[in-house]
Amino acid sequence: MSKVLMIHPDRCTGCRNCELACSFLHENVFRPVISRIHVFSWEREGISVPMMCQHCDNAPCVNVCPTAAMHRNGTTNWVEWNETNCIRCKMCTIACPFGNAVYDSITNKIVKCDMCSGDPECVKFCPNKVLEYADDTSAVRSRKKAFSAKFKEAFKEVTQEVK
């Protein structure tokens, strides 16, 4: 059965251990800008929201990719990036509605969550159980949807605040 990464933003304290762990595992250095997960904090309201690739069912990054470097893995159902096939046109970074695919000029890579090949480091380093690696059952899906609704609410609040 495929697995998904669920986010519980209501539990997030904004510590960014996930970002640091992600960067260190993938790059061997602490460089949060190329972490595959990012935590955005609004200090005035005390809210933090982790953002990462949603591995969308109908993924705009896959649809837009001219070389199929961005593709769906048939076994895991995750969206994956192939470094060799990629021509660095960066269309995927524009297509992603969440901004979760990013190009890093220093490493010349598209930076996007790869689920750590099934053992996500961010989940291991989160001290507050904000991130959950769970079987992709219908029960989990419905919970995931409930949390995404919270996301929406959080964003609405923040957007209003900014305006």
Partner: protein, 623 residues
């Protein structure tokens, strides 16, 4: 370099010059970073006799080698300068993300020199550094400043800034970062204000590298597990915040009440962490890489004290609560929000108001002095109003803005000020907890608990429990805590990591991060070196053994009631032993042998100048 970035940024605001210099590996090794490295730079470059608010003073923002890594709770940077409140070296530590961000931008320290002609802020984006006009944001609160500067620079920029208090040279002004994190003590905000520097905005896209990634990760994971398994580090602080201490200190009869007139407070629970959690907490908050989450996002909906923000932590809850004879939690939270917004040290502000209340109760201050504001103990609304007036130097707040020592002295009654070296002591009564009194008396930045937090052993039993009332062995306990904390502060760690790990784990983290092998002893030795250099700085500034004392109230007036009834602080039983074990002479001056042993590399002229001070100084303890 590993751990360290290898670059120090030097900005002179007088001539607008910006320079990048190499971090000297030898100094980094000896003084680790942050507090230690900053103090060494101060020692090398600034005359300790300098007026703290003059352009000749320098202001150093320095993270440590662990800042920016995932060493648990390694979020800190230190602001190092000569403090205007105390006249001593000041090293004020703050968490959040600002310190790590300086590392990602590529810097081990930012040294600010001189004074800008008009208000400016500094924008650091990796290696691009600009001094920009700040006239539009001068006068704004820390929240407004943070939001304005993010709009002007980058939405993700991390901002350290002063509020109106720092601009107006309030001697108890703080520097705030990410709105709610404070480099709070010794008046560092006033130094920033004196330089016409409103803020530093920083955004970094670079990396912090460690020397041995595999060993570093193993050390960090082990340290995390220890902290998370600890009852205080892993559970208590996340559930209730540091405010959990209100009921604990009240229970052992050492919760200073009404400006230290008493040491238990009848309705303490009303302002404790349990009440805060039940009534006003939104959720716990954490600094970078933290596994503890002691921060409190809180909201008050009651119209009178309405607001949303962070805190209070224990010290602020005490300062605006029991110390002022107040049991109104919402008012304390509001007072703390005002401190964050105006950029004030909540400990010193609350304690200064408590001192004024004490003088008012005894008729030394009258309504004529206070601008018609009644300052009896327990006067909730006027306490909150005085916080605001202090930050803006309005009305009687102008007097309060000098801190309690100068306030009480100006009315001819310095004994009402509960301060050491002119800085307000925090929320642990040293009559009921002996060792913390010795730590207050000898602290290099004046009255302060986080130079040597012996409360850990004397009250909380971490890692072992010592009798709170005995003086025996406390000199050694205080020295060990002071040395460890000096090294820890210099590494970029948060003091709360010691609820789980100690010198051994910290030495391992710093060693694997930097590639410089620190044994546990080396790490502690670095802490001792830093402590002694701070002491030497203060001695050259003219502050020595005769200032290693406590307020008369702590030494002479026994606690009136509660578990600690009848106790005073017996400093005279501990201080001579402290000097001796420190390798200092009877006047509290480091001996030549100790200076050599610690490789402090002082010139003979410096040593002679410092040694000659003992001839003019009186006996160490005032009685």
């Amino acid at each position: 370099m590993y751990g360290w970035t290898g670059t120090i940024l030097r900005i002179n605001l007088t001539d607008s010059s910006i320079r990048k210099e190499a971090t000297e590996p030898k100094l980094a090794q000896q003084y680790i970073g942050a507090r230690g490295l900053g103090t060494k730079i101060m020692w090398n470059e600034v005359d300790p006799k300098v007026d703290p608010l003059s352009p000749e003073n320098k202001l150093i923002f320095a993270p440590g080698p662990l800042s920016g890594t995932f060493a648990p709770s390694a979020s800190h940077y230190n602001v190092v300068t000569k403090g205007p409140l105390t006249g001593t070296i000041a090293a004020s530590s703050s968490g959040g993300v600002f310190g790590p961000e300086l590392k990602y931008a590529g810097y081990d320290a930012v040294i600010i020199e001189g004074k800008a002609e008009k208000p400016v802020y500094i924008w650091i984006k990796d290696d691009q550094v600009e001094i920009r006009d700040a006239s539009q944001i001068w006068g704004k609160t820390t929240q407004e400043t943070t939001e304005s500067l993010r709009a002007a620079t980058d939405d993700d920029a991390k901002i350290a800034c002063i509020g109106p208090a720092g601009e107006k040279l309030v001697l108890i002004a703080s520097i705030m970062n990410e709105m709610n994190r404070a480099a709070g003590r010794s008046g560092v905000g006033a130094v920033m204000g004196s330089k016409n520097l409103k803020a530093i905005a920083v955004l970094g896209s670079g990396a912090v590298r460690v020397a041995d990634p595999v060993a570093f990760k193993a050390a960090a994971v082990k340290a995390r597990q220890k902290i998370m398994a600890h009852p205080v580090g892993g559970q208590g602080l996340k559930a209730y915040g540091t405010d959990i201490l209100v009921n604990i200190l009240n229970g052992v009869g050492a919760l200073p009440t009404r400006n230290y007139r008493e040491s238990i407070f009848a309705n303490a629970d009303a302002v404790g962490g349990e009440s805060l959690t039940a009534r006003l907490l939104i959720r716990p908050r954490a600094c970078n890489a933290c596994v503890i989450s002691c921060g409190r996002a809180t909201e008050v909906t009651a119209a009178k004290y309405q607001g949303i923000g962070e805190g209070p932590e224990y010290e602020a809850a005490w300062a605006f609560g029991p110390d002022c004879g107040i049991d109104n939690l919402e008012a304390g939270v509001k007072a703390n929000f005002i401190c964050n917004d105006l950029g004030l040290d909540s400990i010193s502000v609350g304690a200064t108001i408590a001192c004024a209340m004490d003088m008012y109760e005894d008729g030394i201050l009258t309504l004529k002095d206070t601008g018609g504001v009644a300052l009896n103990f327990g006067n909730v609304d006027n306490m909150v109003e005085m916080v605001r007036q202090t930050g803006l130097r309005e009305g009687f707040g102008d007097k309060l803005s000098m801190g309690s020592y100068r306030l009480a002295e100006s009315y001819g009654h310095p004994e009402y000020s509960i301060t050491v070296k002119k800085q307000e002591t925090p929320a642990y009564d040293p009559r009921g907890v002996q060792g913390i009194g010795l730590n207050y008396a000898t602290s290099n930045r004046g009255g302060c608990h986080v130079r040597g937090y012996t409360i850990a052993v004397e009250v909380l039993g971490n890692p072992v429990k010592l009798d709170q009332y005995t003086t025996e062995g406390k000199a050694q306990t205080v020295i060990a805590h002071q040395n460890l904390t000096a090294a820890l502060d210099s590494s970029g760690e948060c003091l709360f990591a010691t609820f789980g790990i100690g010198a051994e784990e910290l030495a391992e983290l710093v060693s694997t991060a930097t590639g410089v092998l620190y044994s546990t002893d080396d790490f502690m030795k670095a802490g001792e070196r830093i402590w002694n250099l701070e002491r030497l700085f203060n001695l050259k500034a003219g502050i020595g053994g005769s200032e290693d004392t406590l307020p008369t109230r702590m030494l002479k007036d026994p606690i009136k009631s509660g578990p600690s009834k009848g106790h005073v602080n017996e400093l005279d039983k501990m201080l001579p032993e402290y000097y001796q074990q420190r390798g200092w002479n009877a006047k509290g001056i480091p001996t030549k042998e100790k200076i050599m042993e610690l490789s402090l590399n002082l010139s003979d002229r410096d040593i002679n100048e410092i040694q000659s001070k003992e001839k003019v100084k009186e006996v160490p303890i005032k009685r």
